[in-house]
């Protein structure tokens, strides 16, 4: 009897935590999203689903922009990261873990701090462009900060290791004998890559896309620090609506829409792959 109860007792504290602080808050947010009122007089539940239409009408630009920036950054990470993962997995030799460690170095610096430092590098009069301008190699009007490029570059910079690692794990699992077999059957190097290595690495690519696209779309920091005033993303809007305007219903409706858009994708993804696989990739 006691043994049967053990797993439940072990899981109970975490269940309570996840129920109280993940499930209940999401329900609270769903409830707030259809309320009306203001912060002074209080909010009341009126099932006003018009909040969603209203929020989307006002902020569809930022929502679409976030998906575009996140998507562009994810594609950039994939293009930049895949060759790195490939080289470390197949040619890293005995130094594989050293290369992985070097790729993870940025994580020893606080996320906001490294975004700010990246902003330093891109600053108009900073050590990079300031110097080039001093030498007359760049026009004095040249600037990168406060452009969409700066935000996408920041997002790419911040999550690149999360793209490289799962792809690396996927490639690392490819059995070298399978590749040898392909060569024995007279496949060219390109064919081996396209028909053998690439398909086998796809689960890693999927995990990488998942781990980078979601946080990149919902990130407020890069747009705030690198984007100036014309590149506001949905994360900034939600923060301002919640924390500055105290417009909880609109902010909740926006958060819910964002989550719906992202989670529908995630769970479709996880169903296709199995949550265990995705979690395992996430744990590495």
């Amino acid at each position: 009897m006691r043994r049967r109860l053990t797993p439940y007792l072990l899981a109970l504290p975490s269940w309570l935590w996840l129920a109280a602080f993940l499930v209940v808050p999401l329900a609270a947010m769903a409830s707030v999203s259809t309320q009306t009122g203001n912060v002074v007089d209080g909010f009341a539940q009126t099932f006003s689903f018009g909040n969603y239409a209203d929020a989307l009408g006002r902020y569809s630009t930022q929502l679409v922009r976030s998906l575009l920036y996140g998507g562009a950054a994810t594609l950039a990470m994939l293009a930049i990261g895949y060759p790195v993962a490939y080289w470390i997995a197949f040619r890293g030799g005995s130094r594989k873990s050293m290369y992985l460690f070097l790729l993870l170095l940025p994580f020893f610096v606080s996320f906001v701090l490294r975004t700010i430092a990246w902003g330093f590098l891109l600053a108009d009069d900073g050590i990079l462009f300031g110097t080039l301008k001093g030498w007359g190699l760049l026009s004095p009007d040249f600037h990168v900060l406060a452009t969409s490029f700066a935000v996408i570059a920041g997002l790419t910079y911040n999550w690149l290791p999360f793209m490289i690692l799962p792809i690396y794990v996927g490639l690392e699992r490819v059995d070298p004998r399978v590749i040898e077999a392909a060569y024995d059957l007279y496949a060219t190097r390109f064919t081996v890559f396209r028909r053998v290595v690439l398909p086998l690495s796809l689960p890693g690519v999927f995990a990488g896309v998942l781990m980078t696209f979601v946080p990149a779309v919902a990130d407020p920091i890069n747009a705030q620090i690198l984007g100036g005033t014309n590149n506001t993303m949905i994360g900034n809007i939600i923060q301002v609506e919640y924390l500055t305007n105290n417009n909880y219903p609109t902010a909740s409706a926006l958060s819910f829409t964002l989550m719906a858009v992202l989670l529908v994708g995630i769970f479709a993804y996880a169903r296709a792959l199995g949550t265990e696989n995705v979690l395992e990739a996430a744990a590495r």
């Binding site: 797993p7 439940y8 072990l10 504290p13 975490s14 269940w15 935590w17 996840l18 602080f21 993940l22 808050p25 999401l26 947010m29 409830s31 707030v32 990261g81 060759p83 790195v84 080289w87 470390i88 040619r91 873990s97 290369y99 460690f101 790729l103 170095l105 940025p106 020893f108 610096v109 606080s110 701090l113 490294r114 700010i116 430092a117 330093f120 600053a123 900073g126 050590i127 300031g130 910079y157 690149l160 979601v214 779309v217 919902a218 990130d219 407020p220 920091i221 994360g235 923060q239 919640y242 909880y248 909740s252 958060s255 964002l258 989550m259 995630i266 949550t275 995705v278 979690l279 744990a283």
Partner: protein
């Protein structure tokens, strides 16, 4: 140049790119800046290292961050280790739902997590302070510790525990002297991850902090007025300590193996 060499050079280029902001952060901790902005190099100084703790708000924000990280890590490690054991060692009803919840907590965007927690705290009229920050940090670290411990539990040979029981060990003694030491590397890795996630978090914290300031929140708040070089120095020291711990840990792991 062969394609292998080309890729090697390319990999190094990416590593340098990823590390360049770190170099900038370290460098500007030594910058003898005169004006308010700290973006151009004006000479070498150790001044900011001497005056490291002279900005009260910054120092107390750092202390708050470290305290919250210690407490939330302790709670997370207990909860996550127990759940990791349950998921890795046992088959039980509700396992699928539990896996789903663990997965949901990892994949919920931070922004949504912060916003939903604030919705709850606002609805329940709960004041936001260090306690609500700690609650949130445990929430987003829990899944990572669980997954790390579970992975370790799965590599464990159940025969070890059976042997301990056959030798007359009580369940508690078996846990203390056999199971726990065996899963310890997973628990330690989870604890380090939880600590790092907590100290680093900006997004979730920004929703549930009330007027409490953590290190990342203080930094973002000071972007507009100019970030004092002390922030760079603190970042540099945290970076150095983190790297030393990680390297020592991997050397120790290699020795054990």
């Amino acid at each position: 140049m062969s394609s292998g060499r080309l890729l090697k050079a390319y990999t190094w280029l990416v590593i340098i790119w990823l590390s360049s902001p770190i170099a900038v952060m370290i460098l500007f901790g030594f910058n003898d800046k005169k004006s308010k902005s700290n973006t151009s190099w004006q000479g070498f100084t150790l001044k900011w290292y001497h005056q490291l703790f002279e900005i009260d708000g910054l120092t107390s924000a750092l202390v708050t961050s470290l305290l919250i990280a210690v407490v939330s890590t302790a709670v997370t490690v207990v909860l996550g280790t127990l759940l990791g054991l349950a998921l890795g060692r046992h088959r039980f009803r509700g396992q699928g739902v539990t896996n789903f919840l663990v997965f949901a907590a990892i994949s919920t965007p931070e922004l949504v997590m912060g916003a939903s927690l604030l919705s709850l705290f606002v609805s329940a009229n709960l004041p936001r302070d260090a306690l609500t920050i700690t609650i949130a940090h445990v929430l987003f670290s829990l899944s990572f510790v669980t997954v790390t411990v579970r992975a370790r539990v799965l590599t464990l040979d159940p025969a070890l525990e059976e042997a301990a029981k056959d030798l007359g060990a009580t369940p508690w003694a078996t846990f203390r002297q056999v199971t726990l030491p065996a899963i310890m590397p997973g628990v330690a890795a989870g604890a380090m991850l939880a600590f790092a996630l907590s100290v680093d978090d900006y997004v979730v914290t920004s929703f549930v902090n009330g007027s409490t300031m953590t290190f990342p929140l203080w930094i973002v708040a000071s972007v507009k007025t100019g970030i004092p070089p002390q922030v760079n120095v603190m970042g540099t020291l945290i970076f150095g300590i983190g790297v030393v711990i990680a390297v020592a840990n991997s050397i120790a792991a290699r020795r054990r193996a």
